[in-house]
Amino acid sequence: MATSEVAIKARGVFHRFGEEGEQRFVRALVDTSLDVAEGELLCLIGPSGCGKSTLLNIMGGLMAPSSGTVEVRGQLVRGPLPRDIAFVFQENSLFPWNTVIENIELGMVFQGVAKSERAARAAEALAAVGLKEFAQHYPAQLSGGMRQRAALARALSLKTPILLMDEPFGALDEQTRMILGEDLSVLLAESRKTIVFVTHSLGEAVFLADRVAVFSARPGSIKQVIVIDEPHPRRPEFVTSAKFTSLRNQLYGLLHDEIRKAVQQSSAGDTARTGIG
């Protein structure tokens, strides 16, 4: 942790979808409180449907919590905060009718960056993610990994102090994901941004995070927070170290029971719906 200043403060956040008694009623988040320090990279990890993406969206003002509050740098979150927070979504979040460079500049148009500044910032962000030669390509002409690099460039060009990433590499293959993770670690170590990163991958969480918040199965809340005490940028060798393995195993132990619970929940739900049980 770079400083002890709190960037994001979530207090007693509950979230449910639908109304009680309805079939689609889901208690997504229960009494979740969390502090994210300035400059730290916090990973949210947990079984599918545990509410980690919901919490991320609530932190970023894209969803209103059913109850509870989130403060970002001391101000209460009531809607999107484009000057403070940039998002990287799971996949296909680039506008397919715009080229890569147009996509990046459009983000700055929305954010209100002066026209004279946009081109330079877009070029800088593209270079940072290694996509300089693909500025004029359309998203459909890029691989999944390149699209996510472009989405990351768009988020970086917004120059927000906070980056919220919702399983940004979730749809990629293992190798692409590993390379992107290494590049991201280098990039983010330089940028000193505050980052919250939702992931399914234990390895990704240990490799990238300063702290990992482990979610329980639905209704989700934070079960435990683990500190990954290793300087940034992380080296590829870190992955093969004993420390990495033991942290990963510790996470696995915490997660395993919750994933079992989540699977049982969803199969119980299926039988209830089909009326077999």
């Binding site: 148009v109 290694g130 390149m146 917004l158």
Partner: protein, 267 residues
């Protein structure tokens, strides 16, 4: 990074083969049309089909040249194209505006989408007598009918275009601070425009068909009217020449509109 490049714009060979295939299919299409004309010619000259029913294509060709040279078609063409322009302007403006308004609410989409689809499937041309009663035999009834018929494909496609924009795109734009205007200009409009352009092209085509069709049934001027007038005067070769002329106009207009649609989708 190069290894991450997708294959989509690498291979050139299949594209070349596709171009050769398109050339062959064009040849077959042209051959089919030539074949029809040959059968027409044989039927009129060798197989003894009555000249009052089927004129000699050579006579039709001579008449066509005469029509083009004399310029006698100008008045009727102006009438028909004027009706088409007015009808399409009304249905395009009305259909796109109403479609956008409806698309802003899930509820209105659920109410109106099936309703318009149902109306679209009935032959509105059946109401021509009613249109004539209301708007008279002049251009007004053709404009009203053409606008009514072409309104439905336009409004249906506009609702579909604006109503089914990926919600992720809206979330992405909002997260970066997009205003309502930004959202419309940079997200909703580009996402919806391919579907809307298709609706406009379909609307244009059915407006043209219904206007020429209704001119043949109840009117005082226009290309459709002129064709029926010649049929009643038993001037079959000239009537056929006019039909060929109208077909050429229709094909040209549709080609222009399709070209505009394709260009609109590319931008």
């Amino acid at each position: 990074m190069v290894d991450e490049r997708t294959e989509s714009h690498l291979p050139t060979l299949p594209r070349k083969r596709a171009r050769a295939g398109r050339g062959a299919s064009r040849l077959i299409q042209a051959g089919f049309l030539v074949g029809l004309v040959v059968i027409w010619y044989l039927a009129a000259t060798r197989w003894g089909v009555n000249r009052l029913l089927l004129p000699n294509p050579v006579a039709v060709y001579d008449n066509l040249l005469d029509i083009l040279r004399s310029g006698e078609f100008v008045g009727d063409l102006q009438t028909t194209l004027g009706e088409l322009a007015a009808a399409f302007a009304i249905s395009a403006a009305g259909g796109v505006t109403l479609g956008y308004v409806i698309s802003r609410s899930r509820y209105w989409i659920v109410v109106f989408e099936p309703l318009f689809a149902a109306i679209y499937s009935i032959p509105i041309i059946l109401f021509l007598p009613l249109f004539v009663l209301f708007f008279g035999l002049g251009p007004a009834s053709k404009i009203a009918l053409g606008a009514a018929i072409s309104f439905f494909p336009i409004v249906i496609n506009t609702i579909a275009g604006f109503g089914h924009v990926d919600p992720l795109f809206v979330r992405v734009a909002r997260s970066m601070g997009a205003s309502d205007y930004h959202l419309f200009r940079h997200v909703l409009l580009p996402a919806a425009s391919p579907v809307i352009l298709t609706g406009l092209r379909m609307g244009f085509t059915v407006a043209l068909l219904s206007i020429i069709g209704s001119e043949t049934l109840a009117s005082l001027a226009g290309l459709g009217y002129h064709i029926v007038h010649l049929a009643e005067a038993m001037e079959m070769a000239r009537m056929f020449a006019y039909i060929v002329f109208v077909i050429a106009i229709a094909v040209t207009l549709n080609a222009v509109v399709s070209r505009l649609e394709a260009r609109g989708k590319r931008d």
